[in-house]
Point group: C2
Chain length 234, copies 2
Amino acid sequence: MTRRSTLGARNRGIPEATVARLPVYLRALHTLAERGIVTVSSEELAAAAGVNSAKLRKDLSHLGSYGTRGVGYEVQYLVYQISRELGLTQDWSVAIVGLGNLGRALAGYGGFASRGFRMSALLDADPAIVGERINGLTVEHIDKLEQVIADCGISIAVLAVPASAAQPVCDRVVASGVTSILNFAPVVLTVPDGVDVRKVDLSIELQILAFHEQRKAGGPAGVEQEYLEAVDGS
Amino acid sequence: MTRRSTLGARNRGIPEATVARLPVYLRALHTLAERGIVTVSSEELAAAAGVNSAKLRKDLSHLGSYGTRGVGYEVQYLVYQISRELGLTQDWSVAIVGLGNLGRALAGYGGFASRGFRMSALLDADPAIVGERINGLTVEHIDKLEQVIADCGISIAVLAVPASAAQPVCDRVVASGVTSILNFAPVVLTVPDGVDVRKVDLSIELQILAFHEQRKAGGPAGVEQEYLEAVDGS
DNA sequence: AAGCCTTTGTGAACGCATGCACAAAGTCGG
DNA sequence: CCGACTTTGTGCATGCGTTCACAAAGGCTT
């Protein structure tokens, strides 16, 4: 073990799996705080977040030793610590590229602005959409992409463009200085080292559900024979 | 090792990580097929899917031995095998509950219908929305939820409702026989055993990006001191 | 002040996932 | 028909993530 000090493991290097759960804990804590709850045990918080309590404690231990034995965690303090670790104590400017149905839904989503994320720019290529006001912002033409990203200090971009446009648009935002991308287009994006991409894909999620659904119903129906029927009807 | 037969490992029990990647391979294969490509090596397909070739081969080996050594995989055949394994050779009826901005975007998304998923019902509680036609379907009032789910044989539901409505709506669709749920509401759903839930949460994705973004910029800015300033201005 | 009770933080064991590296197995040219 | 070449399928090692179980640590009661 490579312990750095005796005061808990403030190791730089929080496991990726832990990072992915911190936002869930944070949301649960906010809910508790709204109900006026001051202190929470790992057991209670874990239940609210839908995880095992041992996992919760280990996750939190990666941030430091912020609980009190015999008592639990102070809700407000933990909110602050997790927020800070996630980088939510500073503001992030976000651009949405592509304002079709999905892009509009994202632009109108209140959950963004609430915690550290400011919707700073909306960009689209369609002249019929450019100039429209959505949620208090005017849609700019994508020709101004580089300029807008620089002016607003945008480092995070949300891509809600058609699949065929995704890679070119991605290349442009990256060239403009964006280093984090949330991609809704159903393509595998190629980016340079140092750029993070996360992907949200409805179709994939449904297919995973279908797999398990089929499993419940008794496994894949087809036997080997079916393929030939499927392709040439013999 | 517990091999079942000499003909590859047709072990029931495909790793979850593999299942999550199969749809990605499937999409890559469809793209190749459109370009008229008949045969593909693990190296090429892995590149198209954005994964390591060894991982791809191991994933595919869980389905069976569908490649030809020295040659590669036949695209159409592999499409069929993966589709069958994922349960896409049968049709799945899907209901969307909640037709705000996000629900509309989902209802209009072409990627659903294309492969095995049929949008069968749209449900909402708002009288101003009920009766509207979206993408060829009429929005029904949520009072008819149980009836519609039974009539259409729906086993997969997409929840795009406000957070406060999510758990009650979830309980109702589950009681009606739905066993797979794709949840867009920012809450942790509680469901009985045997029901699968997958969650899509924009806010969480952004927070994960923010964490890495901050990391690139030199780690969490705040020192211990900052918390006191943040809460009571002392 | 002392002992009991609660809850954290973590060592240790286990299981899953990843990636290397190579033998087995097939194709293709001569 | 044979030998060289290509590519699959997988044994093995390594690392990450999860869970159990418990000692250490604090609060609370008497």
